[in-house]
Symmetry: C2
Subunit: 130 residues, 2 copies
């Protein structure tokens, strides 16, 4: 059986994907892949997602230069969630979030409110300048 056929794609042909930084263990971002995106990721060793808003493959870093080198591709017990272990390239420390932060998960719940608790490492206007 083809490894891609073992995945339980949802009714839109997608699977949720978690990207985790291999060196720190930080969860960097969450995105989606279709079959082609996952196949391409395995082929080139860099994260290729499916953008639901743009309805096309999205090679992470194609605009920002902040690609993700993929070390490990994991699948969960229900065959319907993928976990990537990655190195976030292009900046030190890595910037995975479009806001210029290290991780997308920078809002922390505290006493009934969300608080931004991680710094912007680079101005998004400088990241996406073209």
């Amino acid at each position: 059986m083809n490894w891609l056929d073992e995945i339980r794609w949802d009714d839109q042909g997608l699977v949720p994907v978690i990207a985790q930084e291999v060196s720190t263990g930080d969860v960097l971002m969450f995105a989606w892949m279709n079959r082609e995106a996952l196949q391409r990721t395995a082929e080139i060793g860099e994260a290729v997602y499916y953008s639901r808003s743009r309805r096309r493959l999205w090679h992470k870093g194609e605009e920002s230069g902040h690609t993700q080198k993929v070390h490990d591709i994991r699948l969960d017990c229900d065959n319907d969630v993928v976990l990537l272990k990655v190195t976030q390239t292009g900046h030190e420390p890595g910037i995975a979030c479009h806001t210029g932060r290290h991780s997308c998960f920078f809002q922390r719940y505290e006493a009934g409110q969300w608080h931004s608790v991680e710094p912007v490492l680079k101005d998004p206007g400088q990241i996406y300048k073209n």
Copy 2:
């Protein structure tokens, strides 16, 4: 604005949730929450998910005793994914997966196939004996 109203619930009123072990950084599992589940999680400091198959709240560990103590609740940049930092209780090392493994992400892609690469720590028949 109520913190729960800031979340972009999907068309089924759910949000995807990643549970990460606070001590090791390991990604343990992926599940869903509705508004009530997230509110309850914040209130009691233990992970309460929404089971899509059973269509009801699911207090993680209610059958297995393997509850998740919640240290941190994070929200991503798009306000549509939650990350919990947890201690997986009830066994040492923690068992988050219904297969009796530490993490649900125990299948590793290698050379065109998925391989199980994490041991079963406890027989699921012993975990769910009632």
